[in-house]
């Protein structure tokens, strides 16, 4: 009986330790320096929806001189801290100026704000959301902070539907952003409408200077991600004359697992090549 109790006790200990290790692994979360983080709420003039905006400032931010490039981060609630921390780390590594990181929180459902066409009740708000960014958010950021107002100094970063929205901005209003970090973009959406939008606007934008980084996970095998990703990449490669273009396929990682590694790869590419 004593032996059995010992066995049970050991088993409980091992199981508990295993679960504890798993939880500790899961609890690790990036947090950006709160002293360098500013936040405010911006209400959309079109539909009255409020967006939580956070701005991560460079450590040596100078409010009276100089201009800073700006990275606009979609799904900001999830991605802001990682992006802001990595921007600091990578800019330090390369010895280049850091950027302002602007987190765009959720207003409407992301599936509404980030999708270009209406295929259900909660999709098709990309035009309005892009207009909000263009006419309200960017002017607000450039008024509050020393953000460079040139197209070449603006980056948009998005994952999944966020990547789809980045592709939409690339095609439809290419004058707004000069740099695109498109991660696991949902280009399958609405019968590949993103590929069609790019084709429709290609003549106007194909000679414009731009930087595009595309990332995806090697294990994204849901039957919808890889081929449109490759098609968009090849289109840019074959038709765009003044583009800095790269892609990364994150080994063994899936749609969500590849997000953070590809954010890091995308930021590295941006800082090296901007």
């Amino acid at each position: 009986m004593k032996n059995n109790n010992g066995l049970i006790s050991r088993f409980y200990t091992i199981t508990s330790a295993l679960i504890l290790v798993c939880f500790l692994g899961s609890c690790k979360k990036e947090v950006f320096d709160t002293g360098l983080t500013k936040d405010f709420v911006l209400q959309s003039a079109a539909d009255g929806v409020s967006y939580d905006i956070k701005v991560g400032l460079p450590g040596n931010y100078n409010s009276s001189s100089g201009k800073y490039a700006t990275i606009y981060v979609l799904d900001g609630k999830e991605n802001f801290d990682l992006v802001a921390n990595k921007c600091k780390e990578i800019s330090d590594q390369h010895g280049v100026a850091n950027v302002l990181v602007v987190s765009i929180g959720y207003g409407n459902d992301r599936s509404e704000d980030y999708t270009p066409t209406k295929v259900s009740q909660v999709t098709g708000g990309a035009a309005q959301f892009l207009n909000f960014i263009k006419t309200q958010l960017i002017p607000e950021i450039e008024q509050r902070y020393r953000a460079d107002s040139s197209r070449e100094s603006r980056v948009i970063l998005g994952h999944s539907y966020g990547g789809l929205f980045g592709g939409y901005a690339f095609s439809v209003d290419n004058k707004l952003f000069g740099n695109y970090i498109l991660l696991s973009p949902s280009f399958w959406f609405d019968d590949l409408v993103s590929l069609q939008l790019e084709k429709d606007h290609r003549t106007d934008i194909k000679h414009r200077k731009q930087l595009v980084f595309m990332g995806i996970g090697e294990a994204e095998n849901s039957g919808r991600m890889q081929a449109p990703f490759e098609a968009f990449y090849q289109t840019l490669q074959d038709n765009y004359t003044n583009i800095k273009l790269a892609k990364n396929i994150a080994s063994n990682l899936d749609h969500l697992g590849s997000k953070d590694p590809n954010i890091v790869q995308g930021l590295n590419y941006y800082f090296k090549n901007r």
Partner: protein, 204 residues
């Protein structure tokens, strides 16, 4: 959301506790569960990723001692079986093959044998997608990749005769570290838990 987040570790913990509570490693008496030295347990299964993958699997379990278990687990997975043509994107093929070996401990109760194992091996994934849309060029993308595959397996045997019911649950721990236990969040880990059912055969 919290419920989902803690579902998997809670499930694993309570399952372990349940087995320990009802089972006794050295039960003796007329009604004790038979100790099988060698079994083959073919089965079919699904992943927890919305049950879109069909798994054809086999477990060979050898118990050189009553409580010590050594296993070989093979699995051929037809991935995303229900959706092969989506929004103008055709899936030409999509499968993976897993081969793992494991070591663990078997606990016996009156009606079942329960084995907890640590598994390690390799996974080969191969799939190809093609844009099959008249408005776009016919672009294909193919992935052929090996990756490590390790994790925890629970194996249940129920039935005392030569043929018995077999159930297995495999929780992959690769890619590691898992970011979260929310089953909706982590692809490749909690989203790919395998649940397998089959008929086991006692060889020895």
């Amino acid at each position: 959301m919290n419920f989902q987040k803690y579902l998997v570790p809670a499930l694993f913990f309570f399952l372990s506790a349940h087995v320990i509570a009802q089972g006794d490693g050295s039960v003796t008496g007329k009604n004790r569960y038979p100790v099988r030295q060698l079994t083959i347990e073919p089965g079919i299964g699904i992943h927890t990723n919305f049950a879109t993958d069909l798994l054809i699997t086999n477990l060979v379990q050898w118990n050189p001692k009553k409580h010590l278990s050594l296993v070989s687990h093979s699995s051929y997975n037809i991935n995303n079986i229900a959706q092969r043509d989506f929004n103008g994107i055709k899936t030409n093929y999509n499968y993976s093959i897993n081969q793992k070996f494991g070591i663990g401990r078997t606990f016996y109760s009156k009606r079942s044998a329960n084995t907890f194992l640590f598994m390690a091996g390799v996974k080969y994934t191969s799939f190809k997608e093609t844009l099959n849309d008249p408005d776009n060029n016919k672009v294909s993308s193919a992935i052929n990749a090996f990756s490590p595959d390790y994790g925890l397996m629970y194996s249940l045997k129920k039935g005392v005769k030569k043929y018995f019911f077999s159930f297995r649950m495999y929780v992959p721990l690769y890619p590691w570290p898992a970011k979260d236990f929310n089953i909706l969040y982590v692809d490749g880990n909690m989203n790919n838990i395998a649940l397998e059912f089959g008929v086991g055969i006692k060889i020895k």
